[in-house]
Amino acid sequence: MAKIVVDGNEFEVNPKNNLLQECLSLGLDLPYFCWHPCMGSVGACRQCAVKQYRDENDEKGTIVMACMTPASDGARISIADEQAHDMRERVIESLMISHPHDCPVCEEGGECHLQDMTLMSGHNYRRYDKKKVTHHNQYLGPFINHEMNRCITCYRCVRFYDDYAGGNDLSAQASHHHTYFGRHEEGTLENEFSGNLVEVCPTGVFTDKVFSQAYTRKWDLQTAPSVCTGCSTGCNITPGERYGSLRRIVNRYNSEVNGYFICDRGRFGWEYVNGEERIKTPVQVVGDESKGMSDEEIDELFNDLAKGVVIGIGSPRSSNESNYALRKLVGEANFYPGIANNEHAINQLILELHKDKAFHTPSVREIERADAVIIIGEDITNTAPRIALAVRQSVRNKASELAELNNIPVWQDAAVRELAQQERGPLFILSNAASRLDDVAQQTLIGTCAEQAQFAFAVAEALEGGTPAGLTEQQEKVLLEVVEALRHAKRPLVVSGSSNGSIEMVQAASNIARALSGDQPSHMALVFPEVNTMGLELLVGPEQKLSTALERCSSGEVSGVIVLENDLYRRAPTAAVDNALLQADTVVVLDQMHSATTSKATHVFPVTAFSEQESTYVNYESRAQLSFQVHQTVTDAKPGWKWLTNGDSDINSIIKDCSDEAEGFGSLDGLVPRLSQFVVGLKIPRQSHRYSGRTAMIANRNVHEPKQPEDNESVMAFSMEGMPAMKDASILGSTWAPSWNSNQSISKFQEEVNGELKQGHTGTLLLTEKTETGIPFQPIQVEGGGDSGQLTLSLAFQIFGSEELSARSPSIQKRMTDAYVALAPVDAARLEISHGDAVAINGGPVAVACIREKISEGSCVVHCGAQINPHDLAGAVSLTKTSESLPGKGLSGLIVSDLCEESY
């Protein structure tokens, strides 16, 4: 620790940080723009000017930029100094020279860092009376609006988009006061994290286009702390609602998980919640007719079902509570995971590995700190995007090391980047096709799942001191690099997952991690495709297979089946599902939207979306997190568990019950805050203290003021009154602090900048008990492919399209492609298939041909989306050109680096 003096007061600070960061950590108000808590300093905006004094006798001092000055021991500064204050006022004045006076119609208004800083600096009158600079705006795709006239040239957008997230289609252009931030030409911003520009931009240049369609001021949004349901990372989010419809999602800071950033699937994939496709009331299907159900009929249905044996099929996209309630209703023996057999087997293996002492599953923050990474077969950019962003940061730890050697503080972002240039920490990727992290990878090895597994086994063998056989020359060369890098790393990381359905890859991954573990467990992140895969898998055993459930239904031995939030046609072969649903007398489906499965149901119940219910989910680390209800549903939907417990339970009881009864969920109950922990039992308002129009919200329909809806279960209230959330960051929906209306107010809630939230907890790890170390798995041998002319198949995932619910959001759909089959140029030539052709797979499902440079000969990679049931495809397929027409989107908008469309 170092001691510094700020305006005569002594403080203890961390000398490894800069003065701006330390002042903010101390809770002092000092305006800034270009500095960002996790992107460091570049010294562009000159807003954080302070006066620095040499010693206590120095009365003159010099103006320095706090963000560019280390908080070294003995530093004496003044924020209040008149010259420093004047400098900050001048900086705002010149930033505002061409800034439009459009705050009232600007979507940033009310949560604009520029507004806040302008007030804080004291600038209030524009002396500039000359002509303003104006710019043309660009179309940037379905997610982001562009209004360059508002730009204050802080360079944060390109620093995030290019430097941090690895984008290459947004740049600073032109110079002097004409500096322009945009694309080389109009078009969609391609990077998977583009939505963060909305939050990174300190003013209204980049705003949320989806939010624009039904815009609401920040203070008029009803919000609550929530968890993203887009994948298994479990990013923390703040959804906002107004007039009964969800309006937007923004990042919610969690020091261990997502920090300041979320992906575009998470930010924009929520529109289905308001969609017309939502199931609105419970219905019974009789013949071709469907009719509504009364409460009595519903009671009767569940009573009848209880008389016989009922199969329950849970869901990886459903909460712990709903899955648990279903298990309880049907009994453990009759409860099955709604997960494909091969994936289920891998997931269960992952659970076992979680208990093994040899391994530790790192949080996203820990992933960022890795100094050598190997990714085996999991396309994390598309299956767990936030983790991909973290891996992208991990390769920069090399730059930090170099910086330390050269006595350059790591927060000197530009200096560190110029110093390190192309020097990166080692990242190795085994993949079935080019991935979006290849640009920072030391090596990318392309191969089939079996080839990847074989290579990974070889790495493990070599790490154990063996000499693996059967590798090609190129593989041997890469092997040496991998082994060298992993051996020398202090914090090596192995990443894999269950998306591809190859258990050998996960086994091989664990062998590598096991070989790397010594006294300390080694870091291994095994991700799942869906938000609560882990939670569901914890409720079932490995022997409970979906295929068994379907067979039991088909056999006619059961009286009915209850399918919870699941489209079984994404989980098992079409014929098997068809038969099971046909043979079962009663098919009850609870879901948010209609699907192929609901169309086969005898009874359909509407369930609430993630923002309409309080629930818990378990992420890839076994981190259980509580997601609060943000708003009430406008339909008859209820949380799944509410239907399944026949209304006999409330959220606190069901969580308590699950916590007590279900193995592994013991600490779940601890997630739920109790009213008694807050001052005089006051509830936490979901609405801000500035929430407007409450008494007149429905005045166009009814002049009577509506009674505020009551929430009898949660500690949160549908109200403006209660204990302000800013008093307790553990239930922080939307951040706000006096003088800080924008998301930058987060520093007021952190223990220190980038630290944990005050009072907040980052979630609870469920699997903390470790068993003895296991033994490595036996390597597999790749069988030589026959000359059948068939292609070995593996699956491709897309951030936009592979997740079931987000794929039903209009803005996400604009970024989706049709189902496609990617193949190598040689195979395409042999089969006389051209890029963009319609191709029948095994004479059945049709996909668009996508010819890619980086794909192995003799293999193909299929993206199924919602159009193809992947379980209908065999491990090897034949492709034939077909004249059958395709739905129409084709491949437009597909973002991969190795397309061959030019030459094919």
Binding site: T153, I408, L419
Partner: protein, 416 residues
């Protein structure tokens, strides 16, 4: 130019490349470094930093990065400055010889000439000279049997003033935006592509062959005052004989202005002058007898010697117009990175345009004065805006009456 450029034969006939033979005969890199350090040579690009000292910051030895670079700053864009051009168009081999000495000393195997794009003549002469030097074995592998090799690459700039700032130059050379870099790391430690790099001005390098060939004593004997060696001095403006001359450091301003440049044109008086290019403070006729060396100009003249190329303001030319012209240049050449420079200079520029058009006001005059402090040293990211405030600040001080006249008369009083 009074003569065509020397070809390699003529250059060699006039002791050209002798320094390399001397080095090949047994001077180690450390010997050369020591010689240059002791010679007292200061950088001729403007800042006047001791050249040998700068070189000594380059990490050497086994553990240091093996790839090092020499970069010649030939992006001569300082207003009123055209001394490097004369050297490159008149004596290109002198620069190459200096580059070889410098590269050898710091251990660079590749050297770049970052040349101002508009210097078409220099492109031609340098290309020819480089080819000749390769042919004669002064460039390429194993120069003069020393085992040391060097390649020189000529890069013509796309044309930004900011590329004269050495770290912006490095960014531009790497194909990035020409924004200055944060220091540290200094280029000597981490420069071009993150490798140790020395960036030297053309004229600085042209001093090296003489120092090695004729020795330190000879070199130091050339200066008349405190500083060693000679310097290229230039005069532009309405003098009888504008041009560039090599003169000993320490001659008086009067000598340069009256003897070499022939004094003011008939009917014109000297009002003021910028001693070393567009980003130096104005000096007045009372300063004419000061010596042209680094310390005297700054300590007694309140300005900087900088590039040593003087811009003369006569008494029939509007000082407001002259400063306005400079401000237009600097505003346009701001890289756009930091706020005071990017947004301050264009404001200043528009105010000058208003003055020019007779719309100047007291309010604008007070804003101009404020902007001088606002864009001053320490408040901006690099030296561009503080450089621009030099003629602005001193001009506002010396020519306040002219500004006031513009306001009162609502026109430029130097025009009829």
């Amino acid at each position: 130019m009074s003569r065509p450029p020397l070809d390699i034969g003529a250059y060699e006939a006039n002791d050209g490349y002798q320094s390399l033979h001397k080095i090949a005969a047994g001077m180690s890199a450390a010997d050369v470094l020591e010689t240059i350090k002791s010679s007292g040579l200061k950088g001729r690009g403007g800042a006047g930093f001791p050249t040998g000292l700068k070189w000594s910051f380059v990490p050497q030895g086994e553990s240091s990065p093996q790839q090092k670079y020499l970069v010649v700053n030939a992006d001569e864009m300082e207003p009123g400055t055209f001394k490097d051009r004369l050297l490159m168009e008149g004596d290109p081999h002198l620069l190459l010889e200096g580059m070889i000495i410098s590269a050898y000393t710091i251990g660079a195997s590749i050297a770049y000439i970052f040349l101002r794009g508009e210097y078409h003549g220099s492109v031609k002469t340098l290309k020819k000279a480089i080819a000749e030097a390769y042919e004669k074995g002064y460039l390429g592998s194993d120069i003069l049997g020393t085992g040391y090799g060097l390649d020189i690459i000529l890069h013509t700039s796309a044309g930004r003033y900011i590329c004269g700032e050495e770290t912006a130059l490095l960014n531009a050379l790497e194909g990035k935006r020409a924004n200055p870099r944060a220091k540290p790391p200094f280029p000597q430690v981490s420069g071009l592509w993150g490798k140790p790099t020395i960036v030297n001005n053309v004229e600085t390098l042209c001093n090296l062959p003489g120092i090695i060939t004729y020795g330190i004593d000879w070199y130091q004997g050339l200066g008349q005052g405190a500083d060693a060696g000679t310097k290229m001095f230039g005069v532009s403006g309405r003098v009888k004989n504008p041009g560039v001359w090599e003169m000993p450091l320490g001659v008086t301003i009067r000598e340069l202005l009256e003897d070499k440049a022939g004094g003011m044109q008939d009917g014109l008086g000297l009002k003021a002058f910028l001693p070393g290019g567009g980003s130096t403070d104005f000096m007045l006729p009372e300063h004419l007898d000061l010596a042209l060396d680094y310390d005297e100009i700054s300590q007694k003249g309140g300005s900087r010697l900088a590039t040593g190329t003087m811009i003369v303001l006569d008494d029939q030319t509007c000082p407001v117009g002259m400063i306005g012209n400079l401000m237009k240049f600097f505003a346009h050449e701001s890289c756009g990175f930091c706020t005071p420079c990017r947004d301050g200079l264009p404001w200043v520029d528009t105010i000058f345009r208003d003055f020019e058009a007779g719309r100047g006001s007291e309010k604008d005059l007070s804003i101009l004065k404020e902007q001088v402090d606002y864009m001053g040293p320490g408040r901006t990211f690099c030296a561009l805006a503080p450089g621009a405030t030099a003629p602005l600040g001193s001009g506002l001080k010396y020519f306040e009456d002219d500004f006031k006249e513009h306001i009162q008369q609502k026109r430029c009083t130097y025009r009829n």
